[in-house]
Symmetry: C2
Subunit: 236 residues, 2 copies
């Protein structure tokens, strides 16, 4: 199967969770907007095409299917890419974990945009400082302790006792958080040994290592979800 | 199959999306915390039980399965409850729509808690006014126009051309928004005729009508997700 991924150009964004799965599996895919521009996405959002109407990218074309919402795409791709356990209970668990990652990603976004996604960061800077403080002190420890526990209960190495798209997504999550909040992540690193060894292990997978070294992997930047503003991190 | 639903007592919350599906299908279920108290939930969050670890309620026990995350639960329940089309493409579309409803529900929550879910509303009231203004003026119209379009493209009556849990969830969404933002919803009502007729149709389904008239349906209140604070609605 050849896949077409649709996601905004210029940022990793939520599309990166799908890219990592496609890259890790060595799947054949086009990153459509990077070839044709963001207009290729807008046509779908404007409803020009028949079939399901996406609310926002990422969305994926797979044969006649059009699938939107990051976690839904990964839930769909898991079996054909060999990136999720076969049992129903573990597949449901993987999806639950991905949805919980998505919840944290939304909170990370709101730490720099607590008032309105349509306003600039500069127009909500004081509110962002308050929200980012709560994120660093309450929400991040709560979520990351949870994922650490999930790994512990899975026998220490894999959330689901075998490699899955969840490992890739946790890699992306930790990488993004370390970019955005280096001081806060350093402060709590000693509490998250399993997440950190997972991150190193994923980075060493041959296809992931090749992807990360390629121009297809955009650097994190201040247009994406994980943004580094020093004033939103722990005080120096 | 007998189901056990776990959700906090005292509010409709995210659990209500699952309750509506169970009630509409006439399924056999216990609302466990309402019988045993919230401690029954805490035990699972504390990891006392083997198997999947939920991050937060709602979660559902179905035989040996434990399933968390609202949209994941509905995705699982759709086929056995007869509340989702059989085709893979439509089941994926239903799930995408539910995830998009979940995104809006999270934004509604943040309209009264833009800074920290652990703080009282009164401690983030000025930020809430700014965020709620953006919700009413930008986000609500964008999401609700989207769902109206989804209904239009589905032939005018059902998002997926047959009754599904999406209709129940859209009913709950519109009901909650009308409770929280009566003036704003009145202002845009004329743009959403299909959503409004869907809401009336769902309310008239015999099992849903019986549920809504029962003590099991808690009223909306200011501890839940959909809260009515007049200062967050359109000016009078």
């Amino acid at each position: 199967m050849h896949y077409q991924l649709f996601y905004w150009t210029g940022v990793q964004g939520r599309g990166e969770f799908v890219r990592l799965a496609l890259e890790d599996a060595g799947a054949s895919y086009d990153d459509v907007a990077r070839e044709q521009g963001d207009d290729a996405i807008m046509q779908y959002l404007d409803g020009v095409h028949d079939g399901p109407l996406p609310f926002a990218p990422p969305f994926l074309r797979a044969g006649r299917l059009l699938i939107a919402q990051t976690a839904n795409i990964l839930h769909y791709l898991g079996p054909p890419l060999g990136l999720v356990p076969r049992s129903e209970s573990r597949r449901l668990y993987a999806h639950q974990l991905q949805l919980t990652i998505a919840d944290l990603v939304a909170e990370v976004h709101d730490s720099h945009h607590p008032i309105a996604s349509g306003l600039y960061y500069e127009d909500q800077r004081s509110e962002a400082r308050r929200r980012a403080t709560d994120l660093r002190e309450a929400r991040l420890p709560k979520y990351l302790d949870y994922f650490e526990q999930v790994l512990e209960r899975g026998g220490g190495h894999h959330a689901l006792r075998e490699h899955s798209y969840i490992d890739l997504s946790l890699f992306q999550l930790i990488s993004g958080l370390e970019y955005a909040f280096p001081r806060a992540m350093q402060r709590i690193a000693h509490e998250l040994p399993l997440l950190h060894s997972l991150k190193l292990r994923v980075a060493q997978r041959p296809r992931i290592a090749a992807y990360l070294a390629s121009p297809r992997r955009l650097p994190f930047n201040e247009s994406g979800i994980f943004r580094h503003y020093a004033e939103l991190d722990d005080p120096a």
